[in-house]
């Protein structure tokens, strides 16, 4: 289960009330710009891209795959290329991809026999272009330690339980590949539009720690989507 913090989380404060980490980052950025290592415009452009990414990208991919079997096949065969069909280019914003996310994107299809779940034990590699910034818990040594060895315990803590006939397959993304889970389309969604379907594909369902629910979305129930 996740707990929402809002902005209660107080950053570490020096006695003067100034955040020393903020000081450090600004110092690095200003020196880098002064020395011509990158430009303020570079920072602004990357910032714009970082603000634009989020889980809705991944949701669109999944919803489209659910309604269009040919797209689903393309998505599973070449994730990076298929992303372009929903307006996501893994080469953005630099033209050669981001330094930390690279350009090797693979979608992992859940089936009745296989449940996929993702972790990066070594750092916190995450498919930012399609899911946005990673959740805080995903980056903790705690999640990195436990998911690979006690996956069913961790999934149970997120509310998921699978029987002995379901293969829980953990993907430790330790190299350049970036992964996203394609959850199974739940019962009770016949005739839904792509938009309605995308609304129930939350970030956690694409990491593999949740399953889509017909009566729950990140923001609103499906009947209110598109109205």
């Amino acid at each position: 289960m996740t707990q929402t913090h809002d902005h209660d989380h107080t950053p570490i404060q020096a006695s003067s009330g100034v955040n020393e980490f903020e000081v450090l980052e600004m110092a690095v950025r200003e020196l880098a710009i002064e020395k011509g290592l990158f430009s303020a415009e570079d920072h602004r452009r990357f910032s714009e891209w970082a603000e634009s990414i989020g889980p809705s990208g991944g949701s669109k991919l999944v919803a489209k795959a659910w309604v269009d079997p040919d797209f689903k096949a393309r998505l599973l065969a070449d994730g990076t290329e298929a992303c372009k069909e929903v307006g996501i280019d893994w080469l953005d914003p630099t033209g050669t991809g981001t330094p930390s996310d690279y350009t090797y994107f693979y979608v992992l299809e859940n089936t009745p026999q296989v449940h996929n779940v993702i972790v990066c034990t070594l750092c916190s590699c995450y498919p930012r272009p399609v899911l946005g910034m990673s959740p805080d818990w995903y980056r903790t040594p705690h999640y990195r330690r436990r998911l690979v060895r006690w996956p069913r315990e961790v999934l149970a803590e997120f509310g998921l339980h699978f029987g002995p006939d379901v293969e829980v397959r953990v993907h430790d993304s330790n190299q350049k590949s970036r992964f996203m889970v394609m959850p199974m389309r739940p019962e009770g969604t016949d005739g839904w539009t792509e938009e309605q379907l995308a609304a129930i594909v939350t970030r956690d369902t694409m990491i593999g720690v949740a399953l889509p629910q017909v009566d729950w979305t990140a923001t609103a129930p499906p009947s209110q989507v598109g109205s």
Partner: protein, 101 residues
Amino acid sequence: MKRTFEVGDRVTVKNATSMFHTRTQAFTRGKTGVVVEFRPDWVIPEDEAWGRDTVERGGREEPFYVVRFKQKDLWPNYTGFDVDTLETEVAQRWLEPAKED
């Protein structure tokens, strides 16, 4: 570089001593799994981490593989079910053919 393993090959992760940097996890060392997919030829992280991140800069490029392990082979007293697996990516230099029991 020539690919030495095929999809379906059983492979064992070598247990070379690592110092300072590695992306071959300790929990895979000496463990045997099966190659399930190819990845592209990439510069190895042991070179990238010291700035040799392209062939021109002296980075060694080689085939990578997706290796699938049975969880019960990876962990002592694995608490999940026999059917569970873990997949991760391994550079060719870290793999050797599985020793037949």
